[in-house]
Subunit: 208 residues, 2 copies
DNA sequence: GGCTTTATCTTGTCATTGTCAAGATGAAAT
DNA sequence: ATTTCATCTTGACAATGACAAGATAAAGCC
């Protein structure tokens, strides 16, 4: 049969895929967002891409391998979301920049809730993938840097600044988790402004 | 064969169990804490109790039914943990009482991390079980009551007080999630005092 | 007591899944 | 042109969730 279109990652008549790894990650994220981790299966992802049921094994080993890759990709986009908001913030005030990053944090959680949950679902001490650990660490460092600029001291040298990091991170993370789980009682419509205002309010408390 | 002991929930020679529902919940929590949701299976729980693989179906319907029951039981003990800490607090100051409740919140998360994650893993809007919704709601009301005593106004009547609820809840929840996931960089040994001091510090910020 | 009803638990079955082993394909290296 | 190797497929097996049908015993009823 003929090829469908050059943009398709998989040409139906070819034995080899071309970029199966990327295609599996893309399809995996789609499956994850539709069904959550509960309905996630290697075989359904493989079927979505149009390859055999054990094609993923060669690239990711086992199921956890693909989930780790998804979480890694998630952390990279997570960091990008925070950086994007921070860059879009016109004020160069460290306080405003950190607030903007926090909104990027929430942006990501809202846009990819299942991925967000996956990323924070396991103990960091049990993480085997060095790529995942590095991507998660990079996200943390973004917040730590923000606090460093705010306080003028490195959190790794000044314990009180590290407490600031923990406070801000706990606040924005808790709010994000509770928000995407519909536990904060925000009405579905007309919420964005209220939501952003509340986030601003409470993040400022964490900075104090 | 003879019965083992009157305390055992299951007598080996009896067809009927006696209190299978409670036994399944107990065993289910054990399996959950050992393997996490990933390794959780109805059949392994049934095997742990010593009943057939489809015995749980009659009491919980499907796998999600048992997980819902576990989450419900979890929220009850979660509330009890907060109340226990609050009662143990000698000061009657609303501020100190709320701080004590927060420590109960973290206590529970640390003592039952897998259960804690399960309880907050899904959207409240998708919850079918009314028992689960009620148990979760009761936990939320405990925090809301604490803020009501602190502010002297009901959060349901005064928006600023509701913001206080969100701030405190986000802070303690985020800290708990990040702490049990080993993301806050607390050293394993000699941490409890530091941990409690940090929690006190940051919860006070949320109250401000 | 004897009978029926009902809740509880078991057995058997099927589709789905994760994982492994062995083989097929084709691209790259030599 | 041949070899080598990464990539993908096929086939198999055990574990699992879910369902149907049957076995057991407790409770209700006469």
């Amino acid at each position: 049969m003929a090829r469908y279109c050059s943009l398709m990652l998989k040409s139906k008549d070819s034995y080899h895929h071309g970029d199966l790894r990327a295609a599996l990650i893309k399809a995996g994220e789609a499956v994850l967002s539709e069904t959550g981790v509960a309905g996630f299966s290697l075989r359904s992802v493989a079927k979505n891409v149009g390859v055999s049921h054990s094609a993923p094994a060669h690239h990711f080993g086992d199921a956890k391998g693909l989930l780790d890759a998804l979480a890694t990709e998630g952390f990279r986009r997570f960091l990008a979301a925070m950086q994007a908001r921070q860059s879009a913030e016109t004020s160069k005030d460290a306080r405003q920049q950190l607030l903007a990053s926090s909104h990027g944090y929430l942006d990501f959680a809202i846009s990819s809730p299942a991925l967000f949950r996956l990323m924070f679902a396991t103990d960091m001490s049990n993480v085997k993938s060095e790529e995942l650990a590095a991507a998660a660490q990079a996200s943390f460092m973004h917040l730590a840097d923000g606090v460093a600029r705010l306080r003028g001291v490195s959190p790794f040298e000044e314990p009180t600044a590290m407490t600031d990091v923990m406070a801000i991170w706990s606040m924005v993370h808790g709010f994000s988790e509770l928000y995407i789980s519909d536990r904060l009682g925000f009405p579905d419509c007309k919420a964005p402004e209220d939501r952003d205002a509340v986030l601003n309010d409470i993040i400022k408390r964490a900075m104090a």
